[in-house]
Symmetry: C2
Subunit: 201 residues, 2 copies
């Protein structure tokens, strides 16, 4: 294809992961989502379940800045950074490395920003109406006891904070993407078709 | 088609008008853009060139609110409203009337918001990178002596203020649309194809 890499940012429950898998399957290329977690676990030494839980959270630990401000070190080193910052840097490097080596789909984790300087990428944002997402989340992940509206809001807020903290951009601003698709309206199938067309153009 | 009406919101210079015309031409339905101006001129009594110049501007006149606040009338009447508000109400009614009567494409003028309660519409947002828009504006409309960056910023700001004033929504927020397309990246041709597919789904 003319664009080697497809990044997919997504609202919780919008089906971004499934659409990414569908696109990758049809193009015969890997889709990095959980696979990114495995790689991060290998390279960072953190447990995969810890990364899955914390890989898109924001640092509140300021120890590194404190050391830096006190002039104790020449600047924050990897080991003085918070766990969250270390996870971000690890995944940043892995995503750049993957993009350098192979055609692929990458879901989430600021990949649109991390690869924004490359001109061989298509950046996609998948979203949907709340009713569609709520039905999908309950059907696929089950009811965890938390009210569905709160569950969606909390997860979206977490992703927004994470994205805005590390990128200094507005999450979901169309100007950061080439294609923004309402999966609830368009359907997974047509979303995948449109993404492939945009990548092959 | 399964959706009767396509609304297209657009950044200045992104080609939203051309894409709307292309979609309408292929579907054999009318595209309302300048045609909306003609109808507004007929129904409001304003000159078409005045409407073209002022049809997407925001009111700064508060006379109607003042009368209303003083209890002089039971509420603002059409004749006490500012010219801009009267234009907005006229076009609001025309857009609702058109949507009721025929399949069509409508470009700009808060049509996505005005028709947001209908379930037979596809709402599209067209945007592009600044370089693409600048080149397109200069090629199609010529150089008017104003620096191109300022020209784009002024026109976008005007549309944003107009949209946000009358709709109380964020302009360009993907959640208000079914499809947001970067025309500079995707190209007019593929944008039109994607819009038609979404409408016919």
């Amino acid at each position: 294809m003319s664009k080697r890499i497809i990044t997919i940012s997504r609202q919780f429950g919008s089906g971004g992961h499934s659409i990414g898998k569908m696109v990758a399957g049809r193009l015969g290329i890997p889709c990095y989502d959980n696979e990114l977690v495995t790689r991060m676990a290998e390279e960072s030494g953190f447990d995969a379940s810890f990364i899955r839980e914390n890989g898109e959270k924001v640092s509140t630990y300021t120890g590194a800045d404190l050391f830096y401000g006190m002039g104790i070190s020449a600047g924050p080193t990897f080991s003085t950074l918070s766990l969250y910052d270390r996870l971000y840097i690890t995944q940043h490097n892995i995503i750049r490395d993957i993009a350098e080596k192979e055609e692929c789909v990458i879901v989430g984790r600021c990949s649109d920003y991390i690869l924004s300087e490359r001109d061989d990428c298509v950046h996609v944002f998948i979203y949907a109406d709340n009713d569609y997402r709520a039905e999908r989340i309950l059907r696929l992940y089950g009811d965890n006891g938390v009210k569905i509206e709160k569950r969606m809001k909390d997860k979206d807020s977490q992703r927004i904070s994470y994205y805005e903290h590390y990128t200094n951009r507005d999450w979901g601003n169309p100007l950061n993407y080439h294609l923004c698709l309402n999966s609830g309206f368009i359907g997974d199938e047509l979303c995948a078709e449109m993404i492939i067309k945009a990548a092959q153009k």
